[in-house]
């Protein structure tokens, strides 16, 4: 099985080269944000204010990690269900975000926005949180400390494993994969 190594920020040619079903290893910086942080970011955009981070070319990871044990960079850190972020996602893609990582299906609006803004949705393995945490080498607070596990953090990752679910060409692994292996 071919694995593509990609680095952040994501350049447009890298995004366009990714296809639904590709396994990737991500190296570079990704930003954590869940529902509460998404709401705050989109509220700022609606008020016409600046975001606390520049999203251009960046990847957003839907994660609320477990607390770090002494000596750990971060506690177990697998993806949360992406559908809860759907209402906020198109606005963040418009601000230049190029990748999203979570688990589970996206709305048609998000899929359309991925095509329009040339971006991809990856899934990482839900529940493989101890393993995923090991690929996170550094975690720094960026904004919303009061949200605890849900704060926005800058995560430096090395070979973070993920799979392309929705590519920038309109393909959907959740649909195609199930069709391929379905039997009557």
């Amino acid at each position: 099985m071919a694995v593509k190594n990609i680095t952040t920020p994501l350049a447009e040619d890298i995004v366009m080269d990714l296809e639904a079903g590709d396994n990737v290893l991500i190296t570079g910086v990704i930003y954590s944000a869940r529902d509460a942080a998404h709401k705050k970011l989109v509220d700022l955009l609606e008020k016409g204010e600046e975001l606390p981070l520049d999203l251009q070319g960046q990847i957003i990871y839907y994660v609320g990690p477990a607390p770090a044990k002494p000596g750990q960079v971060i506690g177990s850190a697998g993806p949360t269900t992406s559908g809860r972020m759907d209402p906020y996602t198109p606005a963040l893609l418009e601000k230049g975000a190029k990748g999203l990582i979570g688990k589970g299906s996206r709305s048609q609006k998000v899929k359309d926005a991925l095509r329009e803004h040339k971006a991809v949705y990856f899934a990482s393995v839900g529940g493989a949180a101890a393993l995923t945490a090991k690929t996170i080498k550094k975690a720094d607070l960026v904004a919303y400390e009061e949200l605890g596990a849900e704060a926005i953090r800058r995560l430096e990752v090395e070979d973070f494993p993920a799979t392309v679910v929705n590519d920038a060409h309109g393909n959907d692994l959740y649909v195609d994969g199930a069709e391929k292996y379905a039997r009557d």
């Binding site: 044990k69 299906s105 393995v125 529940g127 493989a128 199930a178």
Partner: protein
Amino acid sequence: MREIHVEKVRDCVKEMCIDANNNLGQDVVGAFEHSLKIEESPTGRNVLELLLENAKIARQEQVPMCQDTGFAVIFAEVGQDLRVVGGDLRAAIDEGVRRGYEEGYLRKSIVSDPIERVNTKDNTPAVVHFDIVPGDKLKLTIAPKGGGSENMSALKMLKPADGRQGVIDFVVGQARLAGPNPCPPTVLGVGIGGTFEKVAFLAKKALLRPLGQPHPSPFYAEMEKEILDKVNNTGIGPQGFGGRVTSLAVHIETYPCHIASFPVALNINCHASRHSERVL
């Protein structure tokens, strides 16, 4: 009369919270290994390998296998000849959860009110199901339950005429609808019969049965197998990436029901099918 001090219960609950979250049961690990042999999709096999590796890391480093360390769902079977001393049993269980989630570096995922949604910051209260049983022991089972799979669960009051096929269609339809969201490969707990609240409890309880152990009645064992085949034939596969293993097991629990009723409930568990059990 045999006595047990609440402090013993508290300490035991604390340890069980940590144990359940860090140490995936051998039955689940065995189910992953078996799935690896039958999974046809390379992406699906890759997922199963990552899950096995993840369970190993969690056990070795004593960290939770999943960051969603769940709602602490606890089944307490209290022997009728046992006297609990030293305080309030329910409060002792919550205190055990509080200490387990704090000392075990587990995530606190409970909000005090479903609408205002302020985190209680200690993962309490637990959901506790008490039962009175013969004997003088206290049996505790803790099953931390993640939100992702719980959210894809469902209950329906079928018509008695819907029969066996009605149950199968409901469960398979719901599993198909859940798709990748509950972190497949899943375990499906199916409750049939009883009343509205009883059937949901049966579905939850069905998840406690060790994987690979069929229902004792051949009729229901056969039905479990049929549902499992149908769900795996959806092709959803590990993590929904496409494949032949969507569920690891289907467990049915039943109860007598009213002449006019036919309740059925599906409680979906993710592959992080966690539990810890002790008899005190």
